[in-house]
């Protein structure tokens, strides 16, 4: 389960697998009739009764035109927004029961975000930017630093530890952001147009990285309208007017 901590997982696998015998396979994401309405005038129904199930280690692409509700879905999945109705189970936890602080904690622990605009802090080094991911988990600083370096090795940037993000290329920046996203060992990697600001060479390197991560067992959900990105995913879901439909 832990792509970044192979020693630990090899020791504990499969004895302490998070999906014990009682519940055969726990889906990472389970959306049950989720709707999100924005109370504007007239009201906008961004999500209409969405059902979605994402199993562990799946690589899912959500495609669709802009304004179709992709970003709203991502916000709901990332616990940044609450659905108006319906149920959202993340790792089997009903997120409707969580208060604001608990949602923040779950967000930090279970979800890794990758943004189109990277969202790296310009005044912090690459290594510090990655370590930020565990800041609000209250982990030990030395361990965090070690894991940040390991994560950067995974994305092939161990030679950029002390750099400031402005000195990196776009592709490198997104790889730093991905290292940050996977550092907390999240259940779900949520990527919002991860290649939207990248040229084709850098896009290819990021997509290769996603393939690697997926091979290591990370669950990935990518929102994109780039056909090339979607094509790399194992499963594609199309979103139109707030409704989802599987793409063959």
């Amino acid at each position: 389960m832990s792509p970044l901590d192979l020693t630990a997982s090899s020791v504990e696998d499969p004895a302490s697998d998070p999906a014990p015998a009682a519940a055969p396979i726990q889906p990472v994401v389970l959306l049950d009739q989720v709707s999100r309405m924005f109370p504007t005038d007239p009201p906008v129904e961004a999500l209409r009764s969405i059902d979605l199930r994402v199993e562990p280690s799946e690589y899912v692409a959500i495609i669709g035109p802009s304004g179709s509700g992709k970003s709203t879905l991502l916000n709901v999945l990332g616990l940044l927004d609450r659905p108006t109705s319906g149920r959202y189970l993340l790792d089997g936890i009903d997120t409707a029961d969580l208060g604001d602080a608990a949602r923040a904690a779950e967000r930090g622990r279970r979800i890794g975000f990758v943004f189109q605009s990277f969202h790296l802090l310009s005044y912090r080094t690459v290594e510090e930017n990655v370590g930020l991911s565990e800041l609000y988990l209250g982990t030990n600083r030395k361990d965090r630093r070690r894991r940040a370096i390991e994560a950067l090795e995974r994305v092939g940037l161990s030679h950029r530890l002390g750099f400031e993000p402005v000195r990196l290329s776009g592709g490198e920046r997104q790889r730093v952001a991905i290292a940050r996203a996977v550092l907390g060992d999240p259940s779900l990697l949520l990527c919002d147009e991860p290649t939207g600001n990248l040229d084709s060479v850098n896009t290819a390197s990021v997509l290769d990285l996603f393939d690697d991560l997926r091979a290591q067992g990370i669950t990935i959900l990518v929102i994109t309208h780039d056909a090339e990105v979607a094509a790399r995913a194992q499963r594609r879901v199309r979103m139109v007017d707030g409704q989802l439909g599987e793409v063959a």
């Binding site: 936890i93 967000r107 005044y123 609000y136």
Partner: protein, 416 residues
């Protein structure tokens, strides 16, 4: 750590932020824009510096004034009769005794005491009963009747001869001590011939010349005679005032005790003149100096606080994306608020430390230029940085609340 990460699935209650991490984030946030942080801090520096300098300089000046008082005035207590009524019906409310030495010297803290009264109509003073038309031989000189303790009580100095003692007083000797000015006027410079002076028609033998009396400079131009012979021949009845020299610091105590010792039955009829309590004097001086400058210091502090609040607010707006990111990484609203509060407090604290330093240097500089001893309350350099931090904390409240209230979705969308 590994075990904790493996057991990541139980529902966690709250996100956590460790203190060392908060310190790291705060320092990184402040030093991300060092020039801006420095300029922001400047207002607090000025405010704290002027407060510290004001308090320190007034304290320094205050102790300086007290230091001058100490030498002479702070050890003098004078007791006189109160008068009741007015005009022709005016009369003393209580009478002073002549034997003040035996009454007052027993009090702890008294160095010397003496009673004195001016002779009302001494007549002219001359040295010999001779009428010489060519020189002025008769003069009007103030004449005082005094107990033998007066010399020490006024810190008088005898240049020639001696002062009269208790024996002269008891024997009612007709002796006189003349002031140096009087001696010059009458051409008396040696006493081995036992020169005499006529006060009115009464002859007194000059036994000494007093050439200094710091507490009562008028004595140097006067003639002083024992009160007993003055009662006999110069129609003196009661002392007008009692002069007491005290130990340093005892003046307040003696001022309370002396009236009772002098007039056990009518102490309230006596008027005591004592130096102001040194603390009162000092406080009064400090108050005068302080009021205005404290106000100025407070105003600059408020301006500094507004500066910090303003810059922190701008910073919050600039870092909207960062706030969104931190929320996405698991920060609660409280963490966001705490981080910006910590940044503004840190700027205030640094401003307070620099301001306290500048203020103390100013105090030492001013004291040095006036050759004063710089006096500094110990709490001041400690309290000043705390005050700065408090200013920063208060200034950061509103921006922090703004930052914490941002919705992560909006913050992520707005910022890059």
């Amino acid at each position: 750590m590994v075990a904790l990460r493996r057991a990541r699935h139980p529902v966690s209650s709250r996100p956590r932020l460790r203190l060392p991490d908060l310190v790291d984030e705060t320092l990184a946030g402040v030093f991300a824009r060092p020039a801006r942080a420095a300029l922001t801090t400047l207002g607090t520096v000025l405010g704290i510096a002027s407060l510290v300098a004001t308090l320190g300089i007034s304290r320094t000046a205050g102790s300086q004034i007290v230091g001058r008082f100490d030498e002479l005035a702070a050890t003098q207590v004078t007791v006189a009769s109160r008068t009741t009524g007015s005009g022709s019906s005016e009369r003393a409310a209580a009478f002073l005794p002549w034997d003040v030495e035996s009454r007052i010297d027993r009090l702890n803290g008294v160095v010397a005491a003496g009673a004195v009264a001016e002779v009302a109509n001494p007549g002219t003073v001359r040295t010999v009963p001779l009428r010489d038309p060519e020189t002025v031989t008769e003069r009007l000189v103030p004449v005082y009747a005094a107990s033998f303790g007066l010399l020490d009580a006024v810190r008088g100095q005898i240049s020639v001869g001696r002062w009269y003692d208790e024996g002269h007083v008891t024997r009612r000797d007709r002796v006189a001590v003349i002031g140096a000015d009087v001696a010059t006027q009458f051409g008396i410079d040696r006493l081995d011939a036992q020169p005499g002076v006529f006060i009115g028609d009464e002859l007194f033998t000059v036994i000494g010349i007093i050439d200094a009396a710091p507490r009562d400079a008028g004595l140097v131009s006067s003639i002083i005679v024992p009160y007993t012979s003055a009662q006999d021949r110069l129609e003196v009845t009661r002392p007008e005032r009692v002069v007491i020299e005290t130990d340093i610091g005892a003046a307040q105590l003696i001022a309370e005790q002396a009236p009772v010792a002098l007039a056990p039955n009518g102490a309230e009829g006596l008027k005591v003149t004592a130096p102001r309590d040194p603390t009162t004097t000092k406080n009064a001086v400090e108050d005068d100096v302080n009021q205005l400058f404290l106000l100025l210091g407070l105003i600059s502090l408020v301006v500094g606080a507004i500066g910090i609040a303003n810059v922190t607010l701008v910073t919050v707006m600039e870092r909207t994306g960062e706030i969104g990111l931190r929320r996405a990484l698991g920060a609660s609203r409280r963490h966001i608020a705490v981080q910006f509060l910590a940044e503004s407090t840190a700027m205030g604290l640094v401003g307070g430390i620099i301001g306290a330093t500048v203020g103390i240097v100013t105090i030492v500089g001013v004291a040095g230029s006036r050759q004063w001893t710089p006096v500094l309350d110990l709490w001041l350099p400690l309290a000043a940085p705390l005050a700065g931090a408090l200013v920063g904390l208060i200034a950061g409240l509103y921006p922090s609340i703004r930052a914490a209230r941002m919705e992560p979705v909006d913050a992520l969308r707005a910022g890059t």
